[in-house]
Amino acid sequence: MSGIEQFETAAMADARRAMEVCNACRYCEGFCAVFPAMELRRDFAAADLSYLANLCHNCKGCYYACQYAPPHEFGINVAQSFAQLRQESYATHAWPAFLSKAFARNGLVTSMAMAGGIAIVFLLTLVLQSPNAVFGKLPVQPADGFYLIIPKAVMTLTGFASGLFALLAMCMGLASYWKASGPRGWTLKDFYQALKDAASLRYLGGNGHGCNDKDGSFSTARRRLHHLMAYGFLLCFAATCAGAFEDLILGWSAPYPLMSLPVLLGLFGGFGIILGCTGLLWMKLQADQEPSARELLSADVGLLLLLLLIAASGLLLLGLRGTEAQGVALCVHLGLVLAFFLTMPYSKFVHGIYRFVALLRHAAEQRRAV
């Protein structure tokens, strides 16, 4: 075989074969967006497969319903093929390219980043401040209590630098994916539709029937837990923005009182993340492994654990205010946040970006198909 095939991965060839069987069957068209999108095509180029794979929300409905699933000789396992393909698309579009290797051993990378992040924050603090600042008992007031531990300039600079790097890397990835598999011709209405579909997780059983979280039975647990985690994350992000605004614009320094906007947002967000991530991790361990891709487990667990630890250490920091442990808690929390920023473009986190692009393309395609 010569031609385009030799440039393709096994996952891609497998996904194409699956789509050809699915397109002749079409029993799954009621589950999600993938199958109606497939039906608009007769041929499946690599970029199209990457689009379909990222449109897939991994609800697994099509695996349990499939008359051609293993041990049938066709051996169709779209959920697994697409999961592998998604992972490949994250790596293909990662920026800078040499860091795409991080996707191959994501759990290891995430744990090393966590350890490294915490170590760097501790070392910097110890070098820049007296050990007393980290390990000593500090007064609850003055208002700039945290900055006695880590100087304001260092905290702000590190935060912004790592955050901006993550943003830049993800934008580069987005641009690359957009060029390869993004929508051609979309309207604001499509954007609004995609936003609604993403925000509601419509294709994770959002039409009411639920999805196959654990086995052949239907449930909405995974969708609910993802909402808890994702909206919890957004609340925490809002808390960070509110804190930055109050500090940098209004000049009110952290830590903030309990009844302030940054603390309240962070409190609710933190609990959301803890509940969501714990639930999702537990489900991952319970779930039938047949429709899952083993090579993704480490990335999934890595990100969930990192978010869980960030939220937990954040809440711990709140609880330890004014004690001798405050300095250590702050260093651990910020170390984890640093690890999150640095690994974000090379973690499961990017799935949201690629999925949104796919949803936007789907909205535009369906509008034109009507």
Binding site: E20, V21, N23, A24, C25, R26, Y27, C28, E29, G30, F31, P36, E39, R42, G61, C62, Y64, A65, C66, Q67, Y68, A69, P70, P71, H72, E73, F74, H209, G216, S217, F218
Partner: protein, 474 residues
């Protein structure tokens, strides 16, 4: 009412349940659920391993349901008279009116029952047949439906034994005395009060098909489960149970010749015939490919191909027809010339070239329209092509091999309206009920009506389960 658990008790070789259901498809599971709801202890014996459970139901997609007003999944209304007319039309009258009307009326209650069992429905989106008024589509198809039934049955306490084939149903007079089975390779003897046979037809039993079709049956492909061996059916007929349906008949369509021997299911269908010419292994045409619209003709092509030498045929189109039909599961075989295509298909190039050029010369120019009977036909050609007769001119030329694909057989056991099995002396077997394809020949004696097999299976499965549970209490 004691439920015997099987785990760890396999070595006892004797299991005691009120009701044993033979089979693991829709008709078996609906029976098991109803029997358990009726208070009986129920054991389901499924021939297939768990991953392949569900008989032919795993390849189905919808159920034809009567309804007086629009429902969440069905549009408009579909009343008894129209349903009955549809059935009369396809069977040419080969149906038991009372059982058929009972089935039709009972489909009204089937959908709510299915929903209670966790079956999800979807609006019909696409596909070649527009059935949103008459048929309710299962979300994800038949296997998803079966998953819901199995989960329901297990939650209710029905025991399921997979990999278990019934080898003998022993009748004594008008009672079932004993069941013998092979379970996961080990012999098993079962005592039970009542048996429900829901073990399907015999379409996967090639030797049996040969009795009606001769050696050519060896070349048939079986679209559904390999476990429909008809062992229970034959066993019962041999012991004096009355039969229904023509033993020589089966529903056969032309499918992709590269399909697997068994279980190819829906994906192996080919809808290219009306836009093609179909030739046999000698490169000769043998039937009017454009006689009528495909939904009305696809079911005759299995028989037509079965009558050709080596039970094989080839559908030939040109580039212009490539996208007029549903995508095929196997890639199209393409070549730049008719002769090269013939070589790839294993046909005599000159014979195919001659057939194509004779056909091309006979095509009368007209307005080709794939969506309707366009009347674009041939003149002076035998056999003629009555519609969509556009010359095959534009490369690449495309071919698909065709083989007969057997869907189901019609021969079955005779039952009454309580799903009780009737013997040739017209008395019922006291403790034997039947549901699904094993008795469907009473109602669908000929032809095919989309979603009607599932209607019979669901309705008679439920009747058999309820009646059997009632019978246990006596």
């Amino acid at each position: 009412m004691q439920l015997y658990t099987l785990r760890g008790e396999m070595d006892q070789k004797h299991l005691n349940f009120d009701i044993v259901v033979i089979g693991g498809g829709n008709a078996a599971l609906t029976a098991a659920v109803e029997a358990r709801l009726g208070g009986a202890s129920v054991l389901v014996l499924e021939h297939a391993p768990k991953a392949m459970r569900g008989g032919n139901s795993r390849h189905t997609r919808n159920i034809r349901a009567m309804h007086a007003a629009p429902t969440s999944v069905l549009t408009e209304a579909y009343l008894e008279d129209e349903y009955w007319d549809d059935l009369q039309r396809v069977t040419g009258g080969q149906t038991d009116g009372e059982l058929a009307k009972l089935t039709i009326r009972s489909t009204q209650d089937a959908l709510p029952f299915m929903a209670r069992c966790g079956v999800k429905f979807q609006p019909s989106l696409s596909g070649t047949l527009s059935l949103s008024r008459t048929n309710a589509f299962f979300l994800g198809g038949g296997k998803a439906l079966l998953n819901a039934y199995y989960a329901t049955a297990e939650a209710l306490g029905v025991e399921v034994l997979y990999d278990t084939q019934i080898t003998e149903v022993t009748l004594e007079g008008h009672r079932v005395r004993r069941l013998k089975a092979v379970s996961k390779g080990f012999p098993l003897e079962l005592a039970c009060k009542i048996v429900i046979a829901a073990s399907g037809g015999f379409q996967a039993n090639i030797e049996w098909l040969k009795e009606a079709w001769g050696p050519s049956a060896a070349n048939f492909l079986i679209r559904g489960t390999p476990y429909a061996q008809g062992g229970v059916l034959r066993n019962l007929l041999d012991q004096g149970v009355a039969s229904v349906g023509d033993p020589t008949q089966c529903h056969a369509v032309a499918i992709d010749g590269r399909a697997p021997k068994f279980d190819g299911g829906i994906a192996t269908r080919l809808d290219c015939v009306p836009f093609s010419i179909v030739v046999n292994k000698h490169g000769q045409r043998f039937y009017d490919e454009g006689e009528d619209v495909w939904p009305k003709r696809y079911a005759i092509w299995g028989r037509l191909v079965a009558q050709q030498p080596d039970q094989v045929a080839y559908s030939i189109i040109d580039a212009r027809a490539e996208k007029l039909f549903m995508p095929s599961v196997f890639p199209a075989i393409k070549a730049e010339s008719i002769a090269a295509l013939a070589e790839k298909l294993g046909l005599e190039p000159t014979a195919l070239e001659e057939t194509v050029s004779r056909y091309n010369a006979a095509c009368v120019p007209g307005d080709f329209d794939s969506s309707t009977l366009d009347g674009v036909h041939t003149e002076g050609l035998s056999p003629p092509k009555s519609n969509w007769a556009r010359p095959i001119l534009q490369p690449p030329f495309i071919g698909y091999p065709l083989r007969p694909g057997i869907t189901f057989t019609y021969l079955g056991v005779k039952v009454n309206e309580r799903a009780e099995v009737i013997m040739r002396d017209e008395r019922v077997v006291e403790n034997l009920y039947a549901s699904g394809e094993i008795m469907a020949g009473s109602i669908l004696g000929k032809g095919y009506l989309a979603g009607f097999g599932m209607a019979i299976g669901t309705v008679f499965g439920r009747i058999a389960g309820k009646e059997a549970a009632r019978n246990v209490r006596y």
